[in-house]
């Protein structure tokens, strides 16, 4: 029959657009590097809490960017726990944007309409919600970013966070030690564009500069998804006949990675970097006696709540409060793993009444 050149051009055109577009990615990645020294100064800056000071009773608003992952569920439980320890906190209201930034904007507006005393949040996209957060501050509602990233911006009063660069650096350094300073490795990172992904990769690259014997084959994004990490690893195992180690700070993804290696029969000599204290990963570390963990504490929620209450009391707080990560050697993993709990679980000090359903 007749040719349909236009159809081919349409498909070809969109493929070309996509291919051409990806080459633009390089310059975008470059500007993600942050000036660490300047950031440290920003973190230490004191917050002017006088304008937020008010008397109780307080209502805590939590604008969750998403609730569909166990880390944030545990983080929220820490918020509730801390709230229960203060007599002057009468309620915790939670909204869930389900990864929709437009909805998170609407959720923040709704929390303002409900006259909450403070807003704790973790963003879908930090920049998208700044205008809404600024509206909250204009109404005297302090905003606290809880979780994995430092935001220095008029819309964010303070941060209780885990420094992803420091975490990535700790993971990379232990990884280098375990590798013996040489080998071929790849990196399994979270969702591209998140602070976690950007900082972890930056930390790895900086550490690699001091270890020229280690070659980074590829940096992949498993999106905190165990199945996706497994699929990507299976394909990498095909592409590269020799892989000595994997840099994977997120234990959830590490599980997918090791499974791919185990099924390919290449797990014996594999060196895994420390993951985090994700329970499923901890169980694997206990069984296999290697890997270890650098923690990503879910008590960030608790610290965020404490920060918020201090602000409401007019006490001084810094712009950024780092919740330190700690290294767990494989030999100590048994203290943190809960063998009778699900994989999708985090070690914590939560009292029984506040733990999520098992």
């Amino acid at each position: 029959m007749r040719n349909h050149p236009s159809r081919r051009t349409f498909v070809g055109g969109s493929l070309a657009f996509a291919f051409g577009g990806s080459s633009l990615l390089a310059p975008l990645a470059a500007h993600a590097q942050v000036d660490r020294a300047a950031q440290k100064k920003q973190m230490a800056e004191p917050v002017d809490t006088a304008k937020f000071k008010k008397a109780g009773p307080y209502t805590i608003g939590v604008a969750a960017g998403y609730m569909s992952n166990s880390w944030v569920v545990f983080c929220l439980q820490h918020v509730r726990w801390e709230a229960s320890l203060h007599k002057d906190v009468k309620d915790v209201i939670v909204t869930d944007a389900a990864f929709n930034p437009g909805k998170q904007v609407a959720d923040i507006e709704d929390l303002i309409a409900k006259n909450v005393s403070m807003i704790i949040y973790w963003p879908v996209d930090e920049k998208a919600i700044q205008p809404a957060l600024e509206k909250a501050i204009a109404k005297g509602i302090p905003t606290i970013n809880a979780g994995g990233g430092f935001t220095y911006s008029p819309g964010t009063t303070s941060n209780a966070f885990i420094d992803q660069y420091v975490l990535g650096e700790m993971v990379a350094q232990h990884f280098m030690t375990d590798l013996g300073g040489k080998g071929k490795v790849f990196a399994m990172l979270p969702i591209a564009g998140t602070t976690a992904a950007v900082d972890q990769l930056a930390a790895l690259k900086d550490v690699l500069k001091k270890h020229p014997g280690v070659e980074l084959l590829s940096a992949e994004h498993g999106d905190w998804n165990r199945a996706k990490a497994k699929q990507i690893s299976e394909n990498l195992l095909q592409r590269y006949p020799k892989i000595d180690g994997v840099y994977s700070p997120a234990g959830q993804m590490s599980m997918g990675v090791v499974e791919a290696f185990e099924e390919a029969g290449r797990a014996k000599s594999l060196v895994m970097s420390p993951g985090d204290e994700y329970n499923g990963w901890m169980k694997w570390v206990v069984k296999n006696k290697k890997g270890g963990a650098v923690t990503f504490p879910t008590r960030a929620g608790q610290e965020a709540t404490k920060l918020g209450l201090k602000i409401l009391a007019g006490q001084p707080v810094p712009r950024g409060l780092v919740i330190p990560s700690q290294y767990i050697a494989p030999a100590e993993a048994a203290k943190y793993a809960e063998m009778d709990k699900p994989d999708d679980w985090w070690a914590s000090n939560l009292p029984a009444g506040f733990k999520p359903k098992a």
Binding site: M67, D96, N100, G102, K127, A192, G193
Partner: protein, 341 residues
């Protein structure tokens, strides 16, 4: 070789048409009835609902979806469907912010540019449906994937900034009225006139009702479908401009879910997935109703998990409750015989 319609058949057809018009009016009245009732109940029962700020918020939050749903109404009325509008919206958000990067003087050219891009996408859809007879549902699902892949290949994180003027339109109020809301009302008015008072609109409804008969009656079906797809794309782009203003930054995944919400709004408002029946007024009512429900559930501190369950239950209940006696077919059935029960 169609025989001329017998007078009896003509009379029956006219009666059927009147019945459908009445049903459509009842359905869109139904949605507005629900909206008014719901709003009044909420005003009484939900603290914080009935303030000017909150009500204005609801309108502002719904405006983007409203524009997308208006476009979708046209394409569904024509007996087609467009699943790609969500990703087209996302592409608009990214391009608008990346290309203008906050510079006000670039707003107009960039806006015109993305509208033109939308027209091209819509035209491509129409061409593929007209020339190659691809099912619209599967075609726009394919283009959804392509657009999404293209967006994420271009950027994996927020890029650029929306110009101040766009942010103002999307968020602020003039004399107490949300500007985005006013924009939606004006667009809806234009859409209503286009659908009901122009030859294009009447032909569109005829095409959706029965493509073959319309073609035999001399309606330029291919051109009508082109118009429908372009309108759908333009609705997505316009919604995207508002979302860009609302977020202030080019978030790549901004469009996720808009296509399904737009379809739900159109159908709840009285537009039939089989084509041929549509209500602009109903679509707007449904969009506002969905916005009110989300707002009320938030104000009542209903758990987000329950909100999802509730939304699903509401959609199902509304469809069952307002189902038309005449048979409906799956969307995009422009090429399939309309004979199923």
């Amino acid at each position: 070789m169609a025989a001329p319609a017998a007078p009896g058949r003509h009379g029956a057809a006219l009666a059927a048409h009147r019945r459908h018009a009445a049903l459509r009016a009842a359905r869109s009245a139904g949605i507005w009835g629900l909206l008014v009732l719901g709003t009044m109940l909420a005003a009484v029962l939900v603290p914080g609902f009935a303030t000017a700020t909150n009500l204005g918020n609801v309108v502002t939050q719904s405006a983007a979806l409203g524009l997308v749903a208006l476009g979708q109404t046209f394409v569904i009325a024509a007996g087609l469907i467009d699943l790609s509008v969500g990703q087209l919206l996302g592409l608009t958000v990214v391009l608008t912010c990346a290309l203008s990067d906050g510079r006000g003087e670039l707003l107009l050219p960039v806006a015109l540019g993305v509208l033109a891009l939308g027209a091209v996408v819509g035209s491509l859809h129409a061409w593929l449906v007209n020339k190659l007879a691809i099912e619209p549902l599967i075609l726009t699902f394919g283009s959804l994937s392509i657009l999404q892949g293209a967006i994420f290949s271009y950027t994996d994180r927020s890029v650029g900034r929306a110009p101040e003027a766009l942010r103002w339109i999307a968020n602020e109020r003039l004399l107490g009225w949300p500007v985005a809301g006013a924009l939606l009302v004006l667009t809806a008015l234009g859409a209503h006139l286009l659908l009901r008072r122009t030859r294009f609109g009447l032909r569109l409804l005829a095409t959706g009702d029965d493509g073959e008969s319309a073609r035999r009656a001399g309606v330029p079906v291919a051109r009508i479908r082109w118009g429908a797809f372009v309108l759908s794309a333009l609705g997505a782009v316009a919604g995207g401009l508002l979302v860009a203003g609302r977020l202030g930054t080019g978030y790549p995944n901004a469009g996720q879910g808009f296509e399904l919400d737009a379809i739900v709004a159109a159908v709840l408002g009285g537009t039939s997935l089989a084509g041929g029946r549509a209500s602009i007024v109903g679509t707007i009512g449904a969009v506002l109703l969905l916005g009110v429900i989300a707002n009320v559930l938030n104000l009542l501190e209903v758990s987000a998990f329950v909100q999802t369950l509730a939304k699903g239950a509401i959609v199902v209940a509304a469809i069952i409750a307002t189902r038309a006696p005449r048979s409906q077919v799956r969307p995009g059935a422009a090429h399939a015989p309309v004979a199923d029960a």
